[in-house]
């Protein structure tokens, strides 16, 4: 399957362009979003990416013909490269002292030191922004560190918490409720509220495609 478009109610379409969220899916998603941003169908309110899907929301009654859109977007997918190169390279200092660090180590059958070593020796890629403002799903987590989310989410997770949820790792940009395993914290701000007020995309510290490394530190400099 190259691409399939399902209706999502009368005014939205869900474009499914891959079956699993791998590097090829990411490349397709980027190509589709770029295309839709530069050639928006009339009445398009917004386009949003998932791992394998793109949601197109339209003004009431302005949803375009599915078959026509399918033909157009299929061409975009066909021409998408197998992979897109990394965006910016970022390093985030991390103090590995999270409350779930031991749990992650126990589930993996590793020592805490090995968990830190594994988590900080990978270059991750931002594959998805979503869930809450600026929350970036990072791909590339060592399989041994894949850890199920908590059965009951915490009502409040501190901003800057470095966490593992299933096969992804992430940093909580703000203090929010959260169900991921907290393994550490960074002091690099990933949501700039002053820029949120002026409505700038620069409010978000991480962008799709960024390459991210976690650097273990004992404490932060400032």
């Amino acid at each position: 399957m190259l691409l399939r478009i399902d209706t999502f109610g009368p005014d939205a379409l869900l474009v499914r362009y891959a079956s699993k969220g791998d590097a090829a899916a990411f490349s397709r998603g980027q190509a589709l979003l770029t295309h839709v941003d530069s050639h928006p169908p009339a009445g398009l309110i917004e386009a949003t990416l998932g791992f394998t899907t793109m949601l197109l929301e339209f003004e009431t009654g302005q949803c375009p013909d599915r078959a026509l859109l399918e033909v157009m977007l299929e061409g975009v997918v066909r021409e998408a490269p197998a992979e897109v190169g990394p965006g910016r390279s970022l390093e985030l200092p991390v103090v590995y002292d999270g409350p779930d660090l031991k749990r992650v180590a126990e589930i993996a059958g590793l020592s805490v030191g090995q968990v830190i070593e594994l988590h900080s020796s990978t270059e991750y890629r931002v594959r998805l922004l979503g869930f809450s403002p600026g929350f970036a799903y990072l791909d590339g987590l060592d399989q041994r560190l894949h850890t199920p989310k908590l059965a009951t989410p915490r009502p409040q997770v501190p901003a800057g918490s470095v966490a593992i949820g299933g096969e992804h790792t992430a940093v909580y940009p703000a203090a929010t409720p959260g169900g991921w395993n907290l393994i550490g914290r960074t002091d690099t701000p990933l949501l700039d509220v002053a820029r949120a007020v002026v409505g700038s995309r620069e409010a978000f510290g991480l962008r799709l495609g960024d390459a991210v490394r976690f650097v273990p530190v004992d404490r932060f400099h400032s």
């Binding site: 005014d11 969220g21 979503g130 809450s132 940009p173 929010t176 949501l191 007020v197």
Partner: protein
Amino acid sequence: MGEPILEIVDAGFGVALQDLGRRGWKRFGVPPGGALDRHAARLANQLVGNLPDAPVLEILYHGACVQARRRIEVALTGAAVSTGRPGDWHTFWLSDGEALAIAPPRAGVWSYMAVSGGLAGTRWFGSVSAFPRGGLGSVLESGTVLERPVHPFVPLPPAIGRRWIDPTEQRDYLYPPAFRVWPGPQWQLFSEATRGAFFGQSWTVSSRSDRTGYRLDGGPMSCAAEVIPSEPVLPGSIQVPPDGRPIITMRDGPTVGGYPKIGLLDSAQLSWLAQCRPGQRIRFVVAST
């Protein structure tokens, strides 16, 4: 700064500024936000002659008390005036120093108060809708003084005494309609029997409901696929988590989700659903064009 016009003397269960929300920021994880009951918020603005998107106060349940800092024309819609008496959604004046307290509503959850000329507020990504769960602003605390916008929208001529709205627009939240549901992207993952269980029973709105989502209690449903790769979610999406109890995504809900979606509540009825209280029973019907 603008002129002070209204003080939140007591925030009660909760008071927030809301407009109709933001567009275009979901791709960064920012939910649309905005008034949960857009119908009542729009009518409040219309009553006082504001643009539909002007910021209004969204008041949860009761206990809130506001005091005018100068003579202002206001309108109250939603739960606080879900009286069952036609003609109760209308404009009125508050004189300088006059207070208005929100009594326990007979039905409904959210009340909306619009002030002629609008209210000023901080915006995050274009909307005054704060999103405390995601680090953007907070609900209004007792003692907050709200100001008129620096360039207020020119309101109605002062000669108008008391505007009211068509009584058929005034909803009585004791009696919700059957909610129309469009098949969702994972409709096919649910068996015929499971779909039947969804539409065939009445569901109870759970007390674990808020601006991110309304949860439903009832006979649990089963689904073929427990989780799917996270995909974008629309407000009104009906997700079925592994425990089989549906969650209806509201306007502050996560922008992506990994639970299968059996359907999408018709967007015109999401405002109606927002006014259904925990414990209230609701039913769904299949929507069709």
